[in-house]
Symmetry: C2
Subunit: 336 residues, 2 copies
Amino acid sequence: MAHIFLDAMGGDNAPKSTVFGAVEALRENKELKITLAGIEEEIRPLLQDCADVMDRITVLHTPDVITNHDAPVMAVRQKKQSAIVLGMLALKEGTADGFVSSGSTGAVLAGGMFRLGRLEGVDRPALAPLLPNGKDFFCLIDCGANVDCLPAYLPQFGVMGSAYMQMMRGLKNPRVGLVNIGAENEKGNALTKEAFPLMQEAPFNFVGNVEGRDITADVADVVVCDGFCGNLILKFMEGVSTTLLGMIKREMMADTRSKLGALMAKPAFRRVKKAMNYEEVGGAPLLGVKGVVVKAHGSSNAHAIACAIRQAVTMYEKKLPENIQSGINELLSRAE
Amino acid sequence: MAHIFLDAMGGDNAPKSTVFGAVEALRENKELKITLAGIEEEIRPLLQDCADVMDRITVLHTPDVITNHDAPVMAVRQKKQSAIVLGMLALKEGTADGFVSSGSTGAVLAGGMFRLGRLEGVDRPALAPLLPNGKDFFCLIDCGANVDCLPAYLPQFGVMGSAYMQMMRGLKNPRVGLVNIGAENEKGNALTKEAFPLMQEAPFNFVGNVEGRDITADVADVVVCDGFCGNLILKFMEGVSTTLLGMIKREMMADTRSKLGALMAKPAFRRVKKAMNYEEVGGAPLLGVKGVVVKAHGSSNAHAIACAIRQAVTMYEKKLPENIQSGINELLSRAE
C-alpha cells in the first residue's frame, strides 16, 4: 500500500482543496493511505463525511506553517514542525512513499535540497511539469528551480526528463531537445553552446536544438532549458493562450453572425479547453531528489490535488527516483 | 525628400518582393526616392511597368551578395560590393537616410556594428520588433542581436525602446518592463537582479518586472530582455498561436454543428488574424546605431517591404537616432 504525505495547508484553497483532494484520491485507489499534515483543528471538521476512508487517513498536527511570504531556505531550517519539513524527513526515513504540496514552491525546493537531499551525482534538482502541445504533452525541465545554470546541469535535466516520460507516459525513447535560438548546432548563448556537445554525449535520444516556434510543435517530448527560460515558457504559454482566446471571444461577440457561430461552435471550444487543461496530468514533479516529490499548482482545487496524489503514487510504483539514479550514473560514467 | 537604400537581394522572395515593395512605397509617398541595390540584371526586368516612379529609383549594381549561409562578420568584411555593406556606408556618409533589408539578420547586425557604427555610449545595438497584445503593440527589445548580455545593456535597451515608442507610436510616457520570473523586485537570475536597480535609475517610465503571463497583457509598452529570451518570446509567441489556432480549427471541423459555427464566425476569425498581423507595422528596427536601419522578415512579401520602407522613412523624419542619443546621454549622466 502506497503512503502519500500531503501538505494539507499549502495552496490558495487549502485545507479544503487538500483534504477533499485526499478523500477523492483515497476513494479512487483502495491501495493508498494518506497523511494529512497541517493544523489539526482546521483539518478535522472537513473530514465529517469521510467515514469510508478514515481508516486510511492519518491527521498529523504540524504547528508550523510555511507560507509564500517566508524566505524558503530559512523557513525549512527554522520551521521544523511544518508539513514540508516533516514530509521530506518522512520520505528520507522511508516512512512515506511520496510527498505532495501545493504550497510555496521555494520551500518545496529548499526542503527537497536540504531536508531530503539530492540523488548521487545530481547537481540541481529540477521542476518538470507536463505541458500540452495540441497532440500530447511534453515535459518542460527546468521550469524555475534553477534560474542560473551551468552547462553540466542541462544533460542531467535531460536524463531526468527522459526517465520521467518513459515511466509516466510510456514512451520508449523520448526525444530530448534543447531550447535554443536556432536549429543549427553551433547556435546559442554561452550556456547552450557549451551544453550542446554534453547533450550529444548523454544517454538519451537527443534531437538537437528546439526553437521557440517548435516547442509546441511536437518535435521533442522533453524540452530542456535553464529555469529562467523554463519559467518564461511556462507562464508565457499561459499568457499568449489567454490573450488569443480573449481576442477570439471578443471578436465573436462583436457581430450577430459571429455570435451565433460561437454558440454553435461551443462543443469545439470545450474540447480545445479540455486538451489545454493540464490539471489531469498532475503537478510538477521535483526530479533529482531522493524520493517522490510533486509540487501542485498553488491554485489547485480538490480534483487537481487528487490528480497530483495519483501522479505521486505512479512515480513511486514505477520507481522513478531509482530510474533517474541509473540514468545519472550512466551519464557520469560516459563523462569520465 | 527622404532617400531609402534598399537591399534588393535579401529575403526569400527577393528581388521580386523588394522591387515591387519599393514601387508600392514610391507610389504611396511622392517625397521618397529609393536606391535598389543588387544584381542589376535581375532587378531591371522587374521595373518594366514602373515608368511613373522611375525618376525616383536608382538601380545600384552590387556584384557581391550576402546570403544566410555566409558567416556574418566575415561577410561584411569581405563582401564590400554588397548591398548591406554599401547601404551602411551610404548611411554613414549621409547619402542615404535609411536602410532596409530582409536579408541575413546576422549580416545586418554586423554591418550596423562595424560599417555604420554605434551611437556614443551604446554598448550593443538591439533589434526591437513590435508585437501584438490584443489591444495594441508592444516593443520587444532585444529580440536576438545580443544573446549574452551584461546588466548595463538592459537600461540602454529601455532607453532605445522608449524613444522608439514615443516617436513611432506617439506614446507620451511609454511603460518599460523587465522580463522576469516574478513580480517582486528581488526576483530573477543573475542578469535581471543586477539590471533591476539600473532600470530604476534610468530616464524612462520603469514599471518593474513583467512575468511571462503578463507580456501580452498590455502591462508594458516596452518589454526589455536579453536577446536569447527575446528570441524565445518572439518565436514561442508564433508557435503557441499556431498550435492553438490549429487546435481550434481541427476541433471546429470535427462535427457538423461546429463546422457550421466556424463558417458563421469567419469574419470574427478574420479580424483576429488581422489584429495579430504585425506586417503593417513594418520590420524590426536595429536601434542604437548611427542611422536608420530596418530588418524586415525574411519571408516578407512586397507589401511587407513597402511597410518597412514607410517605417524607415518615419524613423528618419522623427530623428529617431538623435532622440536615442539624447536618452543615452541622459542615462550615462545619471550613472556618473
